[in-house]
Symmetry: C2
């Protein structure tokens, strides 16, 4: 249990087996069926979720009632509404399962105790969030500086598994486009090359 989680952890910060056992006592496994919510807007986000298996997405609903996807999380990724988790304020994002999923949950209490008791946990979190920050910065830069076709090619290059596994209308939502527009972009991209 928690294989992938500890694999990812050890790659960032190598753990002794005692440390690993300590950390284990703070983790909770959870399974989620496709379409089930992990978090709904307005609720307090109680967990950081690490994806052992399956796929989730986080999103907001815009004024027109359309789902706007802010993040995907496949195996090995972490997902949460971090602001809500850290502050206890109501969540601004929804999170649900795109596919049946197995998660490793870290509760707020566990998170705080781990930060106190296991120095390597703080390092893990720091590195984790640094990686997430850099990825987000890249995504934002590509949105404001590249034409749509290039953004789509980048997405394929960077996250081929997302493009393969996730329905296209979700990719469109993630890119801030309509499904029709993405379909035409795909036509142009594959036609041209």
């Amino acid at each position: 249990m928690y294989e992938l989680f500890f694999q990812a952890f050890n790659e960032k910060v190598p753990l002794t087996s005692e440390e690993q056992e300590t950390i284990k006592t703070f983790l909770t496994p959870k399974k989620l069926r496709k379409k089930q919510y992990l978090l709904q807007e307005g609720d307090i986000c109680k967990y950081i979720a690490f994806v052992e298996k399956g796929a989730l997405k986080s999103y907001v609903i815009d004024d027109a009632g359309t789902e706007r996807i802010t993040q995907f999380a496949l195996e090995g990724w972490t997902i949460s509404d971090l602001y809500s988790f850290l502050t206890g304020e109501p969540a601004t994002y929804h999170i649900d399962a795109i596919e049946d999923a197995e998660l490793v949950l870290i509760s707020k209490a566990a998170h705080e105790e781990l930060l106190q008791k296991v120095p390597k946990y703080e390092t893990y979190i720091r590195l984790q969030i640094t990686g997430a920050y850099i990825a987000l910065q890249r995504r934002l830069t590509s949105i404001i500086s590249l034409p749509i076709e290039e953004r789509y090619k980048n997405l394929i290059a960077l996250y081929p598994s997302i493009v393969q596994r996730v329905p296209q209308h979700m990719i469109a939502s993630y890119m801030g486009l309509t499904p029709e527009t993405l379909s035409r972009v795909r036509g142009r991209v594959s036609g041209k090359k």
Copy 2:
């Protein structure tokens, strides 16, 4: 010296005066004139810069040769090409001064030694980057889910000092718009209210 830096640090993680003195030995002050570079694309990013005074921006140049601003940093903010800083790879961003500025620089060597020697520094960095991540996530969410007018209003509400101090064509660049479009958006926003 370093007043604002330590004020920001202490707000996140309170320091004893000894700790503060230790950290001081790792910091370097630097002044930058308006339009001077702190970093150019392709160079290795050697510093994390904290802004004591003045204003900087980071940006990329797109295929059409247009500057696309990814971040502003006013007093109290931190700016860097974090990926380049951490990995030693060539920078993808330019950073320069919008106004004459006074900075506090943390070099790579200082950063690493501080992480080793001063546990509170790691906590500071963790909280710092967490805040930056949350801010970036908000910005991205507003880009993909809100109409331009709302995005502009949000920007004014969240960062009034940026909108006041920075020329409008830079705000346009930051929002991924042309200056003409932003000008018309402003007309609509002020006309309507």
